[in-house]
Structures are given as C-alpha cells and as structure tokens.
C-alpha cells in the first residue's frame, strides 16, 4: 500500500496537505514520532480510497489473490465470496463467535473485523492452508480422533485459534488452551472433546470418562 501513489486516490490526502505546509511542519510532526518514515507510512495509510472497487492483493496460504474490492469489504467476505476459500465461516459478522478466525502473520484474528485492504502485505492463513499434501496437522488429526466437532461450522475457527496457540507454545496448560479458545463459540457442545484434542496435542492427554454398563 505504501508504494501506491496517493494521487491515484485523490489529491487531498493528509500527505499532500502536509507537504504543502513545508518541511518545517513535517519536521516538527516527525519529532513527535519515532521517525519520519514511520510518520509518512502512517499518513499514507490514512489516504482516502474508494468508495468504488479498488485493486487489492492478498497473500493467502502462500498464494497471491488479486481482487477488485470496495474498501468496505471485509477479509472474511473477500475470502469466502470473492475467492472460493469458504473454510472460514460467517457466524455473526461482528466479532463475537470466532467461526471466521484466520491467522494474519501467525496471530489469530476475526476475519470479519478486518478490512481486506488492511490485510494486504501480510501473510494470511486459512484452515484450507494447514494440511500440506492432504496430511492433517496434529491439531486437525486430534480433532478427528477425539471427535472434537459435530456440525463442524465452528471447527475451522477453533482449529485456527489452537494452531496459533501451538505455534507459539508447544505445551500449553488446560487454562492456556481455554484462554486461546475464549473467542470461539460452539453451539453443538463439542468443548469437552476440543479440550481432549488440544491436551493430546499438548502432550498431556486425558481420557474420556464415559463408561458403558450392560443392563444386568
């Protein structure tokens, strides 16, 4: 984005306005911040674009997606509806359910709360990007083994939250697992099996307490 000529998006960006004030003003402003470059980058990011569709390039699961999107299009909408990556689900579209969770630079985020244009230049990973050559990741495999899913609609979100957790901490505690999944809702009630799956990946497996008694 910072490479784009601001003139393309309108002559009244704050950058050109600041330019018109002369270097003294810019220097004064820059003195308040870490560096002139950082300040300029910040100003660039505030330029007005849209409301019509603009070219957007997203790096998703290692692939470059070139799309034409209105600036108000969310990352979730861009993934699901402007490309065919429907793994991230829309459950609420307002950052409350977590079904749309993806990783941006290894951080789990609600893709419904990120504009697609903001996600440019970052590494985006969706649930489709986890299994390489059909081989499930440890988290995915544990979900299958422990039946940590039912209808499966929340599952991609839980898997992304847990994958991000295990990327930064190979042996989380039960509380850390709960914390990592605090932003994900499941209505079928798979949480006990999700805990079992995650604890198995953490190297601290617990057994189900289910007991089958014959009717004597």
């Amino acid at each position: 984005m910072k490479d784009t000529d601001p003139e393309v998006f309108g002559a009244h960006s704050r950058r050109t306005f600041l330019k018109s004030l002369g270097t003294a003003a810019v220097t004064a402003a820059a003195a308040q911040s870490q560096s002139v470059a950082a300040e300029l980058q910040k100003l660039n990011s505030e330029k007005v674009i849209g409301p019509n569709a603009v070219p957007v390039t997203l790096t998703v699961n290692g692939d470059k997606l070139k799309l034409m999107l209105e600036p108000r299009v969310t990352l979730l909408d861009a993934l699901r509806n402007y490309s065919s990556l429907t793994g991230a689900k829309e459950g609420c579209d307002r950052a409350t359910c977590g079904a749309c969770t993806v990783m941006i630079d290894d951080v789990p985020v609600y893709s419904c709360q990120k504009l697609a244009i903001e996600a440019q230049g970052h590494k985006i990973t969706t649930v489709e990007g986890l299994a390489k050559h059909g081989k499930l990741t440890k988290v995915q495999q544990a979900f299958v083994e422990k039946d940590a899913l039912m209808c499966g609609y929340c599952t991609p979100g839980f898997i992304m939250s847990l994958t991000a957790l295990f990327n930064r901490n190979a042996h989380p505690t039960a509380d850390e697992i709960k914390h990592a999944c605090a932003g994900n809702i499941c209505r079928c009630g798979t949480q006990p099996h999700i805990m079992q799956a995650a604890l198995q990946v953490a190297g601290n497996p617990i057994k189900s307490k289910t007991e089958l008694i014959n009717n004597a």
């Binding site: 793994g87 609420c92 499966g152 008694i213």
Partner: protein
C-alpha cells in the same frame, strides 16, 4: 428379516466420524458455501416496528442501486396485499421484502433505499402485560390468551387435605433462542427447468415440499441438497419465509441467490423455545408418595400465540412430567405477544417441564426431610430410570456429598442436585435406502436424509461395514439430496432409529444378492473384492427399507450436578455433571458421547445464561447477538462423566433430545441445595442469586 449381529466389530464401539477430515480442513461445503455460477447475495428487509400497518411501499429507488438485480415482497405481505387484507406487521423483525444484488454492500444499500410508510400500532411484548384486559390485541380477531381448558383427574382438593406435606412454587423459564452457528438460509436457483436449493436444513424433504407448494412448482422439478449444515436444534424445517424469498429473488434476477440470515435476524425471526410461568402446588402422603398435583401455567410463543405455536412449539408442558400422581389438575394458557414465533427446539416442552417439576420435587423432599434421590426412587415409575439413579448416585458419590440445603460453609457454597428425563423417539417406517455395489469393490449407500452434526453419515457407514465385513472408511455414504431414496426429517431424535434398520436391511439384501448372483457363498470381508469382481461390468443396485423389530422408542436418563455458588457475587460455577442415559442399542459410542456432552452444555446454558430479553417500551429484542445473549463457552464447561446403559435387546433409540432435558433442573436443584433458598427462575443469573439471598432488592416491575 434381518437382525442385529451378535458380536459386532463396529456397532457399539467407537468409530471416528467419517466426515471429520472434511470438516477440519474446510473442504466440507455448507449451504452458505454453495457458489453456483453467477450467484447473487440475498438479504431481507425486516420490520423495525413491533406492530404497524403498511400504508405504502416502494422499491423504485432500491432497484436503482447499482448491482441490484431483484426486489420482491415477503410471501406473507404479498398474500395480504392480494387478498386486500390489512398489511399489518406484528413483530419487530417480521419479513417485509427481499433484495438480491451482486455484492453484499449493494444489498445493504438497497435495504436502506426501500421506501416504506407505516402507521405504528400499539403492541405488547411481555407475557403479563399481554394478559391484561386492556392490552393491545396482537391479532384483531382473537384474544391474546387462549381459553382455559383445565384437565383434572381424581379429587384434587380433597387429595391436598390428605397430604402430610404440601409445597407451592412459581417456576419460570425464559425464551431460549436456537442460535445454530450457521444461520438459517439457502442458496436457490430457480430456472425454467426447476428449482435447485442448497439448504441449511434438518429436513431436505420438508424444504422440497415447502418450496413446491409455496411457489406452485411441480414436486418433480424441485431438488434440495444439504451436503453439510451448521446445526439446527429443531428450528430448521421447511423453506421458511427466507427460503421462499430467495427463490422468488432467483426467478426475478434470473440467477442463483444465496440468502443467509444475519445473526440479528436469527434472534428475531428464526424461532425460539417458548417461555413458561408454572405455578405448582404439590403434596405427598406421610410415606413420601406423591398424592396431589396442581399446575397453572402460561407462556408465550410470540405471534405463534394461542394455538400453542404448532410444531411442538407450545408453552404447554407435560405435567407432572415423568411422575404419576393420582390426583392432578393442570391448566395451560398460551399468550400471544408481538414477538417472533416459537418453533420446535430440542426436546420441545420437556426442559421447562423438567425444570419446574424437578424443582418442585426437591422443594417437597426438603420439606419432608427426605433425600432427593430417595424421593425419586419412591416416586419415579420408570424401572430403567430407577436403575440409572442408583448407578449415577454411586458414581457421583451422592450419599457422601449430600448436605442439608444451605449448610455448606463459607462464602462459596457447594451444592448438588439431580433430575430425570424421558423422550419418545422411534423410527420412521417409510425410510428407504439403496446400495450400489460396484465391480471394483466400492460401495455407495444412499439415503435421502441429512447429517446435522449428529453423525448420521458415520452411523450409516458403521452399519454397512458391519454387515459387509468392511471398514467404515470403505463405505461411500451419499445423503443430503432429495434425488436419493426417501428419508425423514431429522427431528424428535428419530434419525438413528429410522436409518439404522434401513441400512441393515439394504446392506443385508445387497450382500445376499451379491452372493446369489456371483455364487460366492460368503462375500463378506476378505471375499468381498473377489465377489464384486464377478459382477463383470454391471454394478449391483439394491433397495431396502425400514424394518420392524430393530429399533424402539422411549429413552430416558438422569443427571447429577455439582455447583459452586459465590454468595458475594452470585456467580454459579458448574463443577461436575454425571449423566446416565439409555438409548437401546448404541451404534457409535464416540459420536454418542458427543451428543450427550452437547445436550448437557446446551442445558447448562438454559439454566444459567440464555434468555431473550424484550424491551416493553420499544418492543425490540434487546440482545439479538452473542455479546448479550450468552452461550456456554469452553471455560464454562464442567467435568462431564457419561454412563451409557447398554440395552441392545431394545434396538436403536435416538439420544439427541433426552440428553438436554434434565440438565437445567439438576443444576437449579444443586444451586438451591447450596444456598438453602430456591432461585425459581431460569436463567439463574448472579442478580437472581443475590436477590434470593436478600442481598439486593428484586428489580421493580417496569
């Protein structure tokens, strides 16, 4: 006549869900993922008035929004307009119109551009307000309250005077919202050749028939596909107004339309569990046997109202629920309000019945100084549940843990409680199946049913594998398509009991025919591929159907709960649930355990968190989203122990519903046991706990 195999390899064992890999990799395609070429977004304009008369409506400006391809009236409004009846909107969220456009953003703009002029009308959204004589009438031609129909057996008044102890309580339950993670919706393509609908549904046939009749299209020209769907819990039957709107938009736009409800829509207009307000008087004789019971109950199904809501969505609860009392008097009043209609919700009528009755049971047990488990053993007529109480009490450590109510020391008090459930279920006798055995040894089993996440695909694969001596992974299961042999909707915990006998019959016949045709005496297991090869170039296609004697109905279960209640904050923490359930012959104990966990967690939400809040001044739902409508999260989930009472001789019985019924009652009883006072209204919020403890005043009636 086939019978269940004696020493099964897969049946009654743990089998991994066969579609789990598709779900964990994001390749499973839900209705909301369908993307037929050129599809458009669909959205619905909803009433922002709890009651209003439409004077005029214009789509002119909406149609001019760039990207908008179709704008249609909602079917009910169109109908009223055709019949020149008054165009009255009766609740906040009622469908008015639909728009379809090439982007979501265009649709949002178009919804704002629809011009509508209304006259606002008086409305009523709270049950007690709607009962008043001077309340605004929701439907002009009928009262808000249904006529009294008291049912009486025995001599109740005399019986109460014969009782050694009598309790009275007023037990109330909230309106609960289904909130499946995938909202209601469809992707619909209506062309001159017919309608194809990718539906998020519990009943592909119900959507098929509903679309055909509403749109006057031949049934043979409608196809409904549900490869995967994101939860229903009773609310996803039929096309719904949104499905019909999507189809009409598709026809007008000449393109497929995907119309999924928003989460807000879901809270307003996609169904709910009715509220109940149950005034119970109950008495027992000296020996502890129940002798007299009286219930006066009212509740609302929203505009579904006085007919009780239909489809199992009434507020009238079975009473005295699972108990037999010789003298009973029961009266229900259905209250109509200006709110979204109720619809079937996992075990309709049962969780509120269980909550109130089991609360009353504990209140009476306490009054008579009888242990609550003993009191149930004395009064519960079900032999199976009696056994379950004994097994559960042992496992839970009931005797060691039980203390007199309120005697737990300290600020955080511990309590325990229990409750029982019952459910019918049973199989659909018209269920059909088909197996295609290919010469290369692959096999497809086809049924026109759908998998809600309960494990339907896996059940089919397990039974087929068992009969044919293969592994479940070797079975290709084709479901979720009305082009397949007829299967019933998934409601009432009937799916497993419908499909299991059907698959057994179909695969048994396929095996017999394969053996006859190829001359291989036993084509199972290691002989399978050799036999299939002998088919030459023609696959074997065999039909089967549901058979008598392989399934049954009538599942039960009991649950025990242990809670901590913080008497300073009012916060309840559920520590442990022990659930003892029976469902006859179990097919897959792994997905079965998932179902029971799910029922418990949903029941816990009903006990502690879930409540639709209506604003009596504006008539709107105040918590139409997950910030304010609280669902149980992973941190809330207690330690769960499941005990399955294996009764293969009964055949297959469904478990989806019975597992959610007694949880709220068991938790409520545990809270009462901890505090020594009862919070008789669910959800049991911290505010209600503190009110019951006398630490904060009760909220004034608005």
């Amino acid at each position: 006549m086939p019978s269940w195999p004696a020493n099964p390899k897969y049946i009654s064992h743990e089998t991994r869900r066969i579609d789990a890999p598709a779900k964990v990799t994001g390749s499973a395609r839900y209705a909301s993922d369908a993307n037929p070429g050129g599809w458009l977004y669909g959205m619905i304009l909803r009433s922002k008035w709890p009651a209003a008369k439409i004077n005029s409506i214009s789509f002119e400006k909406a149609r001019q929004i760039p990207g908008i391809k179709a704008v249609v009236l909602a079917p009910a409004i169109e109908e009223r307009q055709k019949n020149s009846s008054d165009l009255t909107l009766r609740y906040y969220g009622e469908e008015i119109a639909g728009v379809a456009g090439s982007t979501k953003q265009a649709c949002l703009d178009a919804l704002k551009a629809i011009e509508i002029d209304v006259t606002e009308l008086p409305f009523v959204v709270l049950e007690d307000d709607a009962k008043a004589d001077d309340a605004p009438k929701v439907w002009a031609d009928q009262p808000n309250t249904s006529p009294a129909k008291p049912k009486e057996s025995g001599d109740v008044d005399k019986a109460f005077s014969d009782c050694a102890a009598v309790i009275e309580g007023f037990y109330t339950t909230s309106v609960q919202i289904h909130h499946p993670m995938e909202t209601h919706g469809n992707t619909v393509s209506w062309t001159p050749d017919g309608i194809t609908c990718w539906a998020s549904t519990q009943g592909i046939t119900s959507v098929h028939d509903g679309l055909a009749s509403a749109l006057k299209v031949d049934q043979s020209k409608v196809r409904v596909i549900t490869e995967y769907m994101g939860g229903g819990f009773g609310a996803k039957f039929g096309p719904g107004p949104h499905g019909i709107i999507a189809a009409k938009l598709s026809r007008e736009a000449n393109a497929p339309v995907r119309l999924m409800l928003t989460r807000f829509d879901q809270a307003l207009a996609a169904g709910n569990r009715p509220s109940t307000f149950q005034k119970i008087k109950m008495g027992a004789k000296e020996d502890g046997t129940l002798h007299a019971f009286q219930l006066e109950n009212y509740g609302t199904s929203g505009i579904g109202g006085t007919s009780g809501g239909g489809g199992g969505a009434g507020s009238d609860v079975p009473a005295p629920y699972i108990y037999k009392v010789p003298n009973t008097r029961v009266n229900h009043t259905a209250i109509t309000t200006n709110a979204g209609p109720a619809t079937a919700f996992r075990a309709p009528r049962n969780p509120p019945a269980s909550f109130a009755m089991e609360s009353a049971m504990d209140d009476l047990a306490v009054k008579m100084n009888i242990d609550p488990v003993e009191f149930r053993l004395k009064n519960d007529p079900s032999e199976i549940r009696q056994r379950e109480y004994k097994i559960g009490a042992e496992k839970f450590g009931w005797k060691a843990k039980y203390k007199k109510p309120g005697s737990s020391p300290g600020v955080v008090k511990t309590g325990i409680g229990c409750a029982g459930s019952t459910w019918g279920g049973g199989g659909n006798r018209r269920t059909r199946g088909e197996a295609q055995v290919n010469p290369d040894g692959t096999i497809e089993v086809r049924l026109g049913v759908q998998d809600l996440g309960t494990g339907t695909r896996t059940v089919i694969a397990v039974i087929a594998a068992e009969v044919l001596g293969l592994t479940p992974e070797q079975i290709t299961v084709r479901i979720g398509d009305t082009n397949l042999p007829f299967g019933p909707g998934s409601g009432g915990s009937t799916t497993c009991a419908s499909i299991s006998p059907t698959v057994l019959d179909t695969c048994t016949k396929a095996l017999q025919q394969l053996q006859t045709q190829t001359g291989v005496p036993d084509a199972r297991g290691e002989n399978w591929f050799k036999a299939c090869k002998k088919l030459g170039v023609t696959p074997l296609v065999v039909q089967g159907q549901w058979q008598e004697g392989l399934s049954s109905s009538g599942a039960g279960g009991v649950q025990f709960a242990e809670v901590d209640v913080d008497t300073e904050t009012g916060l309840v923490t559920v520590k442990k649930i022990v659930a003892v359930h029976d469902c006859g012959l179990m097919i897959d104990t792994l997905t079965l355990e998932s179902q029971i966990n799910g029922g418990i967690i949903m029941g816990m939400g009903y006990a502690l968190y879930e409540e639709r809040v209506m604003d009596d001044l504006s008539g709107v739902v105040l918590n139409p989203n997950f910030e304010t409508y609280k669902l149980s999260t992973i941190s809330d989930v207690p330690d769960i122990e499941v005990v399955l009472l294996n009764m293969p001789e009964r055949g297959v019985i469904g478990i989806g519903e019975p597992a959610t019924i007694p949880t709220a009652a068991a938790i409520a009883n545990a809270i009462a046991n901890a505090l020594g006072v009862r919070v008789s209204s669910i959800p049991i919020t911290p505010a209600k706990v503190l009110t019951a403890l006398g630490k904060v005043p009760a909220p004034a009636k608005a």
